[in-house]
């Protein structure tokens, strides 16, 4: 065969596709969209949906804990047979609620809802790209998440209830369908759902990493990337390395559950009957799980920290303090997060010598964490602070990060942990440092980028009310849990009424429950504000927060391709706020040095001479 008939069609880069404007159908535009902005909104809305469910579950089990004698008959229309004749919550269903609350919050809200929303939305907009590296894979990532959500949702309605072995699904409990109802069908669906979730996270992560590395606009070097992008990038790398390990752990569990292997099972008697499984070890599961599990807590936290860096710098009207130290500490945290997992296993029979090694490594994490906390505070110090709702939520995050991080140092001590492990002290620790901090990062991000997402402003007054109630509420809920934990309350117990030693804390538990219900209620202020402002909010100006990053150079409602004309070129880092000599207190990244001689440093004046300025007429001047 001759070679001349080969049709030589150059595969040109897809970069300029935005030019052929063909009308998109409704489905293409809003449902099976490959536009990163739409996909981001899909993640956000799904995340909000799950947050309501996850929050409602916590209210139900807090009712049980705070008012152990109360009749829950009135919940019968929703919970059906899970409320027994006496109007009491079913004991196994209590465990299912706790498990689902954890799973939903950690994975669906704070991983998919947070990374999925903001990595998708901000990466292309802030690095100056038309879209993600692969729009199709990105769409697939959302739909895998959607499928995973549907499966998990269905599991809530099973006869035997959803999974009930805790969000960490430790075997042997989770491996033996005959152990509790929650280990039957619900557990199977949990595992299936998680497989799709892992696929979704990996597809998303591959896209984020590829996009950040390969698709930055001209001039956008790594040392000019906004810290948001650094955070999303590092998060995606952590996810890429740790989620496959969760897959392995889950796979072996599936085999143990359904195919008769004994990876995690050995010498078990159940119902007076000996199981045939010999030779496995449940501790093996814990190692595999926490190898994901610990990095996962940083997957949840880092994006929130990135968002906070951006918002605090913008609203303090000051460059972020220690830009490089921020990047360095995130890299250090990412690295360390892979070698501390056994601090969750100090009392699992782990060799005490190994325990002290993990204790040492764990305590080192406090150093980069403290660097970050100090940098936020020094950025705020003497800043020209503008208290937008986003700013308040960011400051709230810093507060939670510190007060929750401090208790990590107690827990990281392998001797103290003998006492504290599996008590409410741990619950208090991670709800402050991970749960509330990341949740505040998510809210801050929504308040800050809402104008770019929907072209309208959210209502500020409602934002302030939402902030104060939630901020105070979170402390009222979680601070007392430290005392309850030190008093010895174990987590995941249905009731404490049978223990005389605990009766002194009954009122405190009631107090916590009341605070939790109020805090949950306050979130509806946000939900109202969110949906109302989407349609009725004040129209957003081009650059409402007078910010430096590239997303504010797009039109009010950016179309597919983000910039109607050429992509702006970048000439400076994103934190030129209140630069001495400058007319305004901010100089966006796309303003060439040669246009700002009054504020340039000496070296910058030198650089300005050699700078190649590109005409970019289409960039809306944000001054």
């Amino acid at each position: 065969m001759s070679v001349t008939d080969i049709q030589l069609q150059e595969n040109t880069a897809h970069d300029d596709h935005h030019d052929d404007h063909h009308e998109q159908s409704f489905i293409e535009k809003y449902i099976f969209s490959t536009d990163h902005k739409t996909i981001a909104k899909q993640f956000l809305i799904t995340g909000i949906f799950w947050a309501i469910i996850g929050g409602a579950f916590s209210v139900i089990f807090r009712l049980q804990l705070g008012f152990p004698d109360m009749t829950l008959e009135w919940l019968k229309p929703i919970l059906g047979k899970w409320i027994d004749e006496g109007g009491k919550l079913d004991q196994e269903f209590y465990l299912a609620l706790v498990t689902m609350h954890g799973t939903i919050m950690v994975f669906f809200v704070l991983t998919a809802g947070l990374s999925g929303t903001f990595s998708n939305f901000l990466i292309p907009l802030q690095i100056g790209a038309r879209d993600m590296a692969s729009g199709f894979m990105n769409m697939l990532s959302y739909w895998f998440f959607f499928l995973s959500s549907v499966i998990m949702f269905i599991s809530l309605f099973l006869e035997t209830g959803p999974a009930a072995g805790g969000w960490t699904i430790y075997p042997p409990l989770s491996a033996l369908p005959q152990a509790i109802q929650g280990s039957a069908g619900g557990m199977t669906l949990w595992l299936v759902s998680m497989v799709f979730f892992i696929a979704s996270t990996l597809l998303g992560g591959i896209n984020y990493i590829t996009t950040v590395i390969n698709m930055r606009t001209e001039g956008m070097s790594f040392s000019r990337l906004p810290l948001t992008i650094w955070a999303f990038f590092i998060t995606a790398v952590i996810g890429l390395l740790s989620f496959p390990v969760l897959f392995s752990a889950a796979l072996l569990l599936v085999f143990d559950r359904s195919l008769g292997t004994s990876f995690y099972l050995s010498e078990i008697f159940i119902g007076g009957e000996a199981l045939p499984n010999i030779g496995g070890s449940p501790i093996l599961y814990q190692h595999l799980f926490w190898f994901l599990g610990h990095p996962e807590v940083y997957i949840v936290l880092l994006p929130a920290l990135g968002i906070t860096s951006e918002i605090i710098s913008t609203n303090s009207r000051k460059p972020i303090f220690g830009y490089r130290a921020m990047i360095g500490s995130m890299l250090a945290i990412a690295f360390l997060s892979f070698i501390v997992w056994a601090h969750h296993m100090f009392v699992s029979g782990l060799n005490p010598f190994l325990g002290s090694i993990f204790m040492f490594l764990t305590l080192i994490i406090a150093v980069p964490s403290a660097v970050k906390a100090f940098n936020y505070i020094t950025t705020l110090w003497k800043g020209n602070i503008v208290f937008t709702p986003a700013m308040l939520f960011s400051i709230g995050l810093v507060s939670f990060f510190i007060s929750g991080g401090v208790t990590g140092i107690f827990l990281g001590n392998s001797a103290l942990d003998i006492n504290l492990h599996d008590t409410y002290f741990v619950v208090a620790h991670f709800h402050l440092v991970m749960g509330s901090a990341s949740f505040f990062g998510l809210l801050a991000g929504v308040y800050h980028w809402f104008p770019k997402m929907f072209g309208r402003m959210m209502d500020e007054k409602l934002g302030y009310i939402h902030f104060w109630v939630t901020f105070v509420g979170v402390y009222l809920v979680f601070f007392p849990l430290h005392y309850i934990g030190i008093a010895g309350f174990p987590r995941r117990y249905y009731a404490f009424t049978n223990f005389d030693a605990f009766s002194a804390f009954t009122d405190l538990n009631t107090f916590v429950s009341v605070a939790a219900i109020l805090t949950f209620g306050a979130q509806f202020i946000f939900i109202f504000n969110f949906f109302y402002s989407m349609f009725r909010g004040r129209k957003a100006p081009a650059n409402p927060w007078r910010s430096n990053t590239l997303e504010w150079t797009t039109p009010r409602n950016p179309g597919h391709g983000n910039w109607p004309g050429a992509i702006p070129k970048v000439y400076r880092w994103p934190y030129d706020y209140s630069k001495p000599g400058a007319e305004e207190d901010f100089i966006p990244q796309h303003i060439p040095l040669s246009q700002t001689p009054e504020s340039n440093l000496e070296e910058e004046n030198e650089l300005a001479k050699t700078e190649e300025v590109r005409e970019s007429k289409n960039v809306e001047d944000s001054h």
């Binding site: 595969n11 992560g205 390969n214 930055r216 001039g219 004994s262 000439y571 650089l607």
Partner: protein
């Protein structure tokens, strides 16, 4: 000043083909699955209660087959660079056949394992692990064969040539990875036994 350094002009950002880059990231995540399973194997073995048995010699044959398939894959890739359409197709077909032969070989090897009472389920984890390793590898190999079929179809519509190498380069990379992965797994199992 630090700020000044950051505002230094840089040239155009150099970029790698995003698709190939994405494939490498995908390979990293698969590698993590096998690394985690390997360490699970080591941890479990160190805990004792571990059955030792002989691996079938057939694994040596399948190892040879998969190495050969990597050669034919690469041959096809080089042919694409030289626009030799016939060799591209031949290379892809031979690779796919060798891939299938490898899988049949693994399957026969499993039967041999069963005949010496090494079973996936109902036995010691040492036995199950062998099936997990080989089975997961074969699962990924099926993906590789599908990729080969896609490339073969592309080559028949004249879409594989020296100016359009991305896909075949990805296919080659993935195939070499699968070959390397098997050799690693085999070596790992033999050395740990």
């Amino acid at each position: 000043m630090m700020e000044a350094q950051m505002n230094a002009p840089i040239g155009k950002v150099r970029a790698m083909n995003p698709k190939i880059f994405g494939l490498w990231l995908f390979i990293i995540s698969i590698t993590m699955i096998f690394i985690s399973l390997s360490s699970a194997y080591i941890v479990k073995q160190a805990e004792g209660n571990w059955r030792i048995f002989e691996f079938p010699d057939l694994f040596k044959v399948t190892s040879l087959i998969i190495v050969l398939s990597s050669v034919s894959m690469h041959w096809s890739y080089i042919a694409a660079k030289r626009n030799n359409l016939l060799q591209i197709r031949l290379g892809l077909v031979v690779t796919a056949i060798l891939g299938a032969a490898f899988m049949i070989g693994q399957f026969v090897a499993w039967n041999e394992l069963v005949s010496i009472d090494v079973n996936f389920s109902g036995g010691n984890p040492a036995e199950s692990f062998v099936y997990v390793f080989t089975g997961l590898h074969v699962a990924h190999l099926i993906g590789g064969v599908i990729f080969l079929a896609v490339m073969l179809k592309a080559s028949f519509s004249y879409k594989v040539h020296s100016k359009s190498l991305t896909k075949i380069e990805m296919c080659t990379t993935y195939w070499h990875f699968l070959g390397g992965l098997w050799l690693y797994l085999y070596l790992f199992l033999v050395l740990n036994n």
